[in-house]
């Protein structure tokens, strides 16, 4: 019951922050378009007045890729470099706005104006960035210990190739069950920074672990539920975006709108996690 209440309060808090979420969405969209738009221009330049792009109408025809010739290499390099660049920018953007969101969810009263939100984001940016990098390293190490190490051992002992997918299911299950712990610690640590104004990252992580210990099942359960729902949503969203191939102007525009709606929902669900963790930490 307490879990449900926590999730419900988290959802309400996230929903009430819709202006902030829309601001994050707009920022990610503009920056992604800045990377993606040259791709469109590049393709249009390559094809020029050719009608060959009609062959891409119902999906990408790999058979035509060879006809592009040398520009294809440039195109792939541009997409790769753009995606890499955007990943870095994205890390900064999401870390920045997480600072504002946690501030919003740790306030016991009212909301934040946009300028207050940006100010809080800026205040928390450096410690949040440090914490994000540390936690990403921790999660990487956790993944290596749970998945990578056993695979290496199996390969070394058997002298054979990498074990197949199904034989790794138990390891992935352990990994999936362990992940909410680290996510909660990361979120609770940031809650502590946002609430106290401290910039001490390792003390924040300590506070995160203490919060987990104090209310383990509520904390773990909250994150587990939110992560499961998020995962299902992400899978559905990707399935939609990958499989749909609109081929006319208005349909493509509607597709763009709908995929952006999915991004907004995804951002809302991420905010829901932040808010729920903050609620779990403050609940009695």
């Amino acid at each position: 019951m307490k879990l449900f209440e926590t999730l419900k309060k988290g959802a309400v808090a996230a929903a009430s922050s819709y202006k902030l979420i829309l601001l994050i969405w707009a920022t990610t969209m503009v920056s992604a378009i800045a990377v993606g738009y040259p791709l469109k221009s590049f393709l249009n330049i390559i094809f020029g007045n050719s009608m060959a792009m009609e062959r891409f109408t119902d999906g990408f025809d790999i058979g035509l890729a060879g006809d592009i010739g040398r520009p294809l290499g440039g195109l792939m390099a541009a997409v790769s470099a753009g995606t890499l660049l955007y990943s870095f920018i994205g890390l900064l953007i999401m870390t920045f706005f997480a600072g504002g969101l946690f501030r919003r969810f740790t306030m016991s009263w009212g909301g934040l104006t946009v300028s207050e939100f940006l100010k809080a984001s800026a205040n928390n940016f450096i410690p949040f960035l440090k914490l994000a990098l540390i936690m990403m390293l921790v999660i990487g190490a956790f993944t290596f210990i749970i998945i990578g190490l056993p695979v290496i051992i199996i390969m070394a002992v058997s002298g054979r190739n990498m074990p197949g997918g199904t034989s790794l299911y138990p390891l992935w299950a352990v990994w999936a069950l362990g992940m909410p712990v680290w996510i909660f610690v990361a979120d609770a640590s940031r809650r502590w920074i946002a609430a106290t104004g401290s910039r001490k990252t390792f003390r924040a992580i300590g506070a995160g672990f203490r919060a987990l210990k104090e209310k383990f099942w509520l904390s773990y359960g909250t994150v587990l539920v939110v992560v499961l729902i998020n995962s299902a949503f992400i899978a559905i969203a990707f399935w939609y975006a990958i499989t749909k191939t609109p081929d006319r102007g208005i349909m493509i525009f509607l597709f763009f709108l709908f995929t952006q709606l999915l991004v907004i929902l995804r951002l809302f669900m991420k905010a829901w996690r932040y808010a729920s963790v903050c609620e779990a930490g403050s609940s009695r």
């Binding site: 990610t28 990377v35 025809d61 790999i62 058979g63 060879g66 006809d67 749909k244 191939t245 995929t259």
Partner: protein, 654 residues
Amino acid sequence: MRKCILVLMLAVPFAMSGQIVVDAPLSDRLTGYDINAVLNPESHIVSGSMSAWWVNNSSQPVAEAMMHMYLNAFSSNKTSFSSGGRWTASGDEGWGWVKIRTMTDDEGNDLSGSMNYVSPDDGNEDDRTVLRLDLPEPVEPGDTLKLMITFDSRLPSPIVRTGYADDFFFVAQWFPKFGVYETAGMRQREADGWNCHQFHPHSEFYANHSVYNVSVTLPDEYVAGSGGKLIEEIDLGNNLKKVVWRAEDIVDFAWTAWPEYKVLTRKWKNVDITLLTSEKGLSKADAQFEAVMYALEYLGEKVGPYPWPHLTFVDPPIIGAGSGGMEYTTLFTSMGGGVVPSFLKISEMVTIHEFGHAYFMGIMASNEFEEPWLDEGINSYWEQRIVDHYYGNGYGLLRLSFLKISDTDQGRLGYIASPSRSVSTNDLPSWMYPHNTYSMMSYNKAATWLHTLEGIIGTATMDDVFREYYRRWSFRHPSGQDFIAVVNDVVRKEHGDSFGENMNWFFDQVLYGNGICDYRLSGITVKKIRSYSGVIDGDSVTYTSSDRKSDTLYLSRVSIERIGEVTLPLEILIGFDNGDEVMETWDGKGSYKDFEYTGTRQAVWAKIDPLDKLDLDVNRINNSWAEKPKHPASRRMMDKLVFYMQMLISIFTI
């Protein structure tokens, strides 16, 4: 050696062969092998005693014999096969070789002193893959040379086509095997002589259709299979068994053994199909059988009947992956079963391809060493037709809602994307292709120009070409010239001189030439000629002054250029602003061609080769031109990329 009268000698092989597998001999059966072999899994050695015979069907006495000693390709890193770091043994136990312990004729004369190794292709003295046997007495026309040989074959590791990995054995190219004695005129040869090439990285077969009686003794926990019909399996006690096979009219005999094989069988019409696979491969078994049956059906209908009542194929486990994707006529190996996702038809493609070799070098036993396009190119062409016919509605290899590729385009891609696509002609011996272009030339380019040939002469005529090729050359040894002669005869019969006196102009460019084909639609220009009112005749249409839109006359010019050296007849489809479409043709020989239209309509788009008949054209993007091209796909791609990036940063950031 024994000399007897011609009739008696010709009767010898027949008596040796008998009929067990097929109702009547399919081939001349100039060679045959009776082999008793023992597999020692610990030493990875197959010890054999063999009786091999060859009939001199020429009109001249023959004083020497040539034999392939394939496994010696793996004996050191200085052989023609492994030099240059292309293969090396996995430790001392990994080197492979075949050693003749004794060799006698059927009168017991020791011939071991008459053996010496030769390297007819490259003079490499470290290569011992061709054995020449100087006979004490020539084999007279019609006589039979019979050899009794005992040999040891140590299998190599890692596996490349043949070898072992742990307890997995794929035993191919493992015994001393006669080359082909070619008579004058055969494959345009000027004089009689042996055709026996060294073992190169990219050459595999050229052999007579033979009869094989093979028995293998091995530990009884092993499951074994081969290209022969299983005659019996005998329990020898002491945890040993003997497996006896017989094969008729095939060009090579290979076998495999592994304790963990799962054996499945199906029947298609009169053909018993056996699949040896791994536990993991079981999930793919139905798809693999289906692929074989598709190929049997398609090739049976379009080329000729599959003549044997059996075939065995292997989906090797990962440890034996090096044996995958090979053909031994009635035995072939696929790959990837149980690992490749079902939406990707790679395993099916390999299965169909390797099965197809039963026709192209199995039945039509061309010389793969000297003319690899004649089996790999033709077989790839048919594989692509089959895969794209049965799977994915034209996109046989991969057909998802967002991503697609046809098998035909996959092959074409290998050719057009190669920077070395013009480095040589397409008729070189397999070991002579420069700059690693063997696969691109033998498989991809050849298949691509065969599709182009189909586009020019039509699918029905192409099918008739192969039916005639099968009729003339099954169980014989055709050359490229023989294939071209079939094409010329069939095309002339069905199309007269529509394509010229013969089709040599085509083969001269694509097979014996190294040019590329590229036509470009350089643009459409439209000029207003004059305004008018009243009634005029233009473009066979009568316009009136009341038709306000039609009171202007235009000159539309569609300009085409030939960029490549290859000239092919073209179709050009031109679209006008009033919705009219006009199909034009051009012989493609000049460096450019303009099509002009005067009238009230304006040309707004045009496409060269609108039906994609000319796969050889290396750039299809420049084959069309539109005044206002529609690029919705690029917008959609950008939208998707933006979405993926936004989602990914929301996932991978805490």
